[in-house]
């Protein structure tokens, strides 16, 4: 399953994200550039897309 994660910081093609109360590093090759605070849909170590809450 893919999960929603909030970007905390980025360096290169990697972002530190908050997901389910923990922190993980994910690849952002498919969505960069991203900014801290943005919400990403993440799966298998990579961000698949951005999320928009409407």
């Amino acid at each position: 399953m893919a999960v929603a994660a909030r970007v905390l910081a980025t360096h290169g093609m990697t972002a530190l994200v908050e997901v389910a109360g923990g922190h993980e590093e994910i690849a952002i090759d498919l969505v960069e550039p991203v900014e801290p605070g943005e919400l990403l849909l993440c799966h298998a170590g990579i961000a698949l897309d951005r999320m928009e809450l409407r």
């Binding site: 399953m1 849909l41 170590g45 990579i46 698949l48 928009e52 409407r54």
Partner: protein, 384 residues
């Protein structure tokens, strides 16, 4: 919790259930297939089936990526793992799937170096950490997971990693749906399409279901309100005699998906002529393999595999569960010989498998046996 509480309101759920009951036909059954194992898991976890009127039945589909891997491919992975110098890495669920000759975890007990990873990028990291070994990533999954493998391959090529390869078993979502819709033994009135696959591929791959088969499709997210709203959208289409592809998961899914994700898949992988699916057999142009430009990272080119097609154990009815022909508890070994602790079939291994989900959340509820309506009783829509 953000992105959870908003989609689990009991009050809003009650309103949706009321609307569905108002629109749903009272004189015959509507069969809606939730394609994705993530939806199946959420439906059982939240008891969504119990909220729907008796005439609306949810049928489980083939969208659990672990469940559709045939036994022969597991045996191929075990053969790779047992080769000298190899580290074989894959997702945790895949290590527990029984092949014809045991599972990867059992191969580890025999001395094979089998590692669980969260991402193919972790497997690439293993290759950096073990330069004297060959690391093979056993890749599975639909278009949701293929981008991660594709980005890993791009990085491996850019970084000139020589001791890393991929045993590619990625599959695509459209062809198995066509196979299910072509099967004469199951009649479906509409489909709940997988949200996360659609984040990558968009909504276009389902157009043929609406235009050629006359069935409505709703791309759906995974929280209880998402699923209930999707059922409402499908029932409404049926009541109005429409068959369209609609998008409920608008907070992520766009019409054309994520073009960057599709581009990395296309750069690294291409369609195979055919691919074997558990329960569905050989399906033309339904699986992916590495392109020639990435041949040096292709475990199938670097190694000789058994490549045999292995029949399911006679007691196992995963194939019928994956095709929506029977409910999990209609399998003859469900909950007795086949449990999450000692699975016989793939559907009992993964949390997204229909049998594991039903075992964990639904096995004490009333049986689903015998609730399928006969073929041919279809609600207000044209034939294919």
């Amino acid at each position: 919790m953000r992105f959870v509480d908003e989609f689990r309101s009991g009050e809003l759920a009650g309103g949706l259930v009321h609307e569905i009951a108002e629109i749903a036909p009272r004189d015959r059954e509507v069969a809606l297939m939730e394609v994705c194992g993530g939806h199946t898991h959420a439906i059982y976890k939240h008891g969504i089936g119990d909220l729907l009127p008796a005439s609306v039945r949810l049928v489980h589909g083939p969208g659990c990526p672990v469940c559709v891997i045939p036994l022969g491919r597991v045996d191929d992975a075990i053969a790779l793992a047992l080769e000298p110098g190899v580290i074989l890495a894959s997702f945790g669920d895949m290590l527990r799937v029984p092949g014809g000759k045991g599972s990867l975890l059992e191969a580890r007990a025999q001395g094979a170096d089998v590692r669980m990873v969260y991402s193919p990028l972790d497997a690439l990291e293993l290759a950096w950490e073990n330069p004297e070994r060959e690391v093979i990533f056993f890749a599975i999954g639909f278009e949701t997971t293929a981008p991660s493998t594709a980005v890993t391959l791009q990085r491996a090529k850019a970084e000139r990693v020589r001791n890393f390869s991929v045993f590619c078993n990625h599959v695509t979502i459209g062809p198995p749906l066509r196979a299910i819709l072509d099967a004469p033994e199951l009649r479906l009135d509409g489909l709940i399409a997988p949200g996360h696959v659609s984040a990558v591929v968009g909504t276009h791959p389902y157009d043929f279901i609406a235009s050629q088969y006359g069935r409505p499709v709703v791309v759906a997210a995974f929280e209880p309100l998402d699923i209930l709203q999707s059922v409402l959208m499908l029932v409404r289409q049926l009541a109005e005699g429409r068959s369209e592809v609609e998008n409920q998961y608008t907070r992520v899914v766009r019409e054309h998906g994520n073009p960057r994700a599709l581009a990395v898949i296309d750069e690294t992988m291409e369609l195979r002529d055919e691919m074997e699916w558990r329960g569905l057999g050989m399906i033309p142009r339904s699986g992916l393999r590495l392109r020639e430009e990435y041949a040096e990272f292709d475990a199938e080119r670097r190694h000789t595999l058994p490549g045999e097609s292995v029949a399911d154990p006679k007691a196992c009815q995963c194939g019928e569960v994956l095709r929506g022909l029977i409910g999990p508890d209609e399998c003859r070994v469900f909950g007795t010989a086949c449990t999450p602790e000692r699975p016989i079939g793939t559907c009992m291994v993964s949390a997204e498998g229909a049998c594991a989900a039903f075992y964990n959340y639904g096995r004490n509820r009333p049986s689903t046996r015998g609730k399928m309506a006969p073929v041919g009783e279809r609600v207000g829509q044209r034939e294919a």
